[in-house]
């Protein structure tokens, strides 16, 4: 009886972990691609998560339609990404200048969100995704199942984008050697803008997808930024495959900790990161950066 209960709890935690993992994936993937190609540590990525969550919440709660929320969150952040890349990051391409610009943006965007939405938590969920379903003895929240399906769908789209399209090929080549891809005739500035926009869009999307689960409140994205940094280090900086594996892994470990050893939930991420760094300093799928 006890072992059956344990298995049910374990499997429920596993499903929750995969669902959380897909949110981490969308959030971290953008950060990872932007860093891999543009060598920018984008500290404003978390603020885009927060803003995407707020904007998606506004639209979804007014229209009652999750699809409009998803579109609003992703489109607004994609647009903001274009504006930031073309008008702010382009000013100075040196890494230090860009770090300072993104830190400034993080403070500005978080403050603007705070002014607009205040120090309050908001939560909204679509009626049709309320409640649970039973898969044998396992209880699964409908919304978390939706997250897995939708997350998988977005991940496949992103994977196709980066492996089967011309743009994706240029990005992967650019991650390997940014100068040489230009020497073949690619206008890297355009690729930068598109990449920053896609990364920002994914952050906004991830932010809004978390609203029905954990709500949205000031600095939520900036809090999760640390998780995203740890995930891309665990997966291997600049590695798409590594980010995918690390996101799901961290999601599962965090949820298992939340069920079994709640006091270790926050710290579990860093235990995993340290363990990986000690055994494989370049991350699970990373290459050694010279």
């Amino acid at each position: 009886m006890i072992s059956e209960m344990s298995l049910e709890i374990f499997l429920s935690a596993l499903v929750d972990g995969i669902a959380l993992g897909f949110i981490f994936l969308m959030f971290s993937l953008g950060l990872s691609i932007i860093f891999g190609l543009m060598r920018i540590v984008n500290f404003a990525h978390g603020s885009m998560f927060t803003l995407g969550a707020y904007i998606g919440y506004e639209i979804a709660s007014k229209t009652g339609n999750i699809l409009y929320g998803l579109l609003a969150a992703s489109a607004s952040m994609a647009l903001l990404g274009i504006v930031i890349e073309r008008f702010l990051l382009k000013i100075r391409r040196e890494p230090l200048a860009q770090v300072i610009i993104t830190i400034g943006l993080m403070i500005l965007l978080d403050r603007l969100a705070w002014i607009r939405w205040g120090d309050v938590s908001y939560i909204w969920y679509p009626q049709w995704l309320e409640g649970v379903i039973y898969a044998g003895p396992i209880i699964i929240y409908k919304y978390r199942l939706f997250l897995i399906v939708f997350g998988l769908f977005i991940s496949i789209l992103v994977y196709i984008l980066f492996t089967k399209t011309k743009y994706g090929l240029f990005v992967r080549a650019g991650i390997d050697d940014r100068e040489m891809i230009q020497a073949f005739g690619v206008n890297i500035e355009r690729v930068f803008t598109a990449t920053f926009s896609i990364g920002s869009m994914l952050a906004g999307l991830a932010g809004f997808l978390l609203v029905p689960w954990q709500g949205v409140y000031p600095l939520i994205g900036t809090n999760y930024l640390l998780n995203a940094f740890a995930i891309i280090i665990i997966g291997g900086i600049g590695s798409l495959e590594g980010t995918i594996i690390a996101s799901i892994l961290v999601g599962i470990i965090q949820q298992l900790c939340a069920y079994y050893v709640p006091y270790l939930t926050e710290v579990s991420l860093f235990i995993v990161m340290l363990s990986v760094l000690l055994t494989k300093p370049s991350g699970l799928m990373g290459k050694v950066i010279e």
């Binding site: 011309k166 090929l169 240029f170 992967r172 080549a173 991650i175 390997d176 050697d177 100068e179 040489m180 891809i181 230009q182 020497a183 073949f184 005739g185 690619v186 206008n187 890297i188 500035e189 290459k287």
Partner: protein, 241 residues
Amino acid sequence: MLEIKDLKVFIGSLYILQGISLSVHKGEIIYLLGRNGAGKTTLLKTIIGFIKPSSGSIAMNGIDITREPTYVRAKLGIRYVPDNKRLFMSLSVEENLYTALLASGLSKDKAIERIEYIYNVFPDLKRLRKLKASQLSGGQQQMLNLARILALPNTKILLVDEPVEGLSPMFVSKILDALMRLVEEGLSMIIVETRPVLMEKINGRYIILNGGKIVSEGYTEDLLKNKILIETYLGLHKSDK
């Protein structure tokens, strides 16, 4: 075709190039020689646009490209083959070729056609096409390095940095064949060499750089007879070759 006038490059507080002027005409081969640190690679990198010059000018077919980004220079037909085999290491052999072809503006169908042509020239690459570039040997990487360029349309001038350095005689011969093919197509080239390997096979003009300045220039046939020049600036004795 390519006209460089009084090119100067500062890196940090160092003067790497101190007023280089040279012209490359259609179909001409120029060997850039000199010891390590003479500025040979810097000159190539400045021509392709990786390094911005402090002063001077670079023109291609009469168009001033001194301030143009690298991709514009590539579109004008300037191609760079780096010495350290800067392949896209996480991509497969075929993806490396495909990326280069698509980047140069070819359609997907044309790119696939060109890849087949490259496989005819380098049958080894067809066999290795699924392997990642990082999994190739040094010689195979250099073959792919050159094959990427060979595949490209609209190439006018090739900047080749030490194409046979450190390669086994078998690969040297393959690289030489590939370069000969490009010479026959009428391409211009600037080839960096630290040892006179290629210039013994393919004649052309030479320029010796020392401390970022041109210290000697002329024809390779004359240089190969001039032991003093070779020993002074290339640091080679006849037995080294």
